[in-house]
């Protein structure tokens, strides 16, 4: 599974994308956010306030209880500020 990061999440983690095998215990977007927080210093900062992180599953906005199985690309980013 491919994980991609944008804006200050990308800066804190230090990479813009990575390939990972998710633990079998992760079912939802909410589970994934908790797991991310425990993956190291940069992740701990990036995911310290998970409610401020937006998630997209295969380029569609997702909610906390959406399932993450059968997804190819998961994106993590702050609230959007375009326009």
């Amino acid at each position: 599974m491919k994980l991609v990061y944008f804006a200050w999440l990308r800066e804190h983690i230090g990479i813009d994308e990575e390939q990972v095998d998710l633990p079998a215990t992760i079912d939802t977007v909410g589970d994934l956010l908790i797991w991310q927080k425990g993956r190291g210093d940069g992740y701990a900062i990036a995911f310290s306030e998970p409610e401020t992180v937006r998630v997209a599953l295969d380029q569609f906005h997702a909610e906390q209880d959406d399932p993450v199985d059968r997804v190819e690309e998961i994106a993590f980013f702050p609230p959007m500020t375009g326009g």
Binding site: V4, F6, A7, W8, A56, Q59, F60, H61, A75, F77, P78, P79, M80, T81, G82, G83
Partner: protein, 153 residues
């Protein structure tokens, strides 16, 4: 109906003419242009860098445009251009054009597209200040509130 993401500037007049394409049924064209401001509170901005998620930004803006057309069947056509990369104060960031036979649909659809673009299109602004500092722009609560009026309808 089309969406273009590009680093380069756009010409409003030629985009408008191209979208109308000589269709004389069009009685109203609304164009909205977003620009880079030079001040944030009391701080002078020297540059603004727009980061985006290319695949999703394109797809999300196309979905927003399709929603506008579903909501206003009399929306004749629309066009969205959003720039990315480093811009300076006064530069154009975004263009939305809506066409209809009458003005009300064109005005409403343009506002709808901008309200959803601001909160759902994956773009992030980083401001560089004149004193050398730079920081990510925080999302505005007003932008979220702007969406609520469309839910009531």
């Amino acid at each position: 109906m089309s969406v273009t993401l590009q680093p380069d500037d756009f010409d409003i007049s030629s985009e408008l003419d191209a979208l109308i394409g000589g269709r004389t049924s069009v009685g109203a064209a609304v164009t909205f242009t977003g620009l880079v401001r030079d001040m944030v509170k009391d701080q002078r901005i020297s540059a603004m860098t727009l980061e985006h998620y290319p695949a999703m930004a394109q797809a999300e803006l196309e979905r927003i445009e399709a929603e506008a057309h579903a909501k206003w069947p009399d929306l004749t056509d629309s066009r969205i251009i959003h720039r990315f990369g480093t811009l300076e104060p006064g530069d154009r960031i975004v263009l939305v054009i809506t066409l209809s036979s009458h003005r009300q649909v064109a005005f409403e659809a343009a506002e709808f597209i901008m309200d959803f673009l601001k909160t759902r299109a994956p773009f992030w602004k980083k401001e560089s200040l004149a004193d050398g500092q730079s920081d990510w722009v925080k999302a505005s609560l007003k932008d979220d509130e702007a969406l609520d009026r469309w839910k009531e309808q």
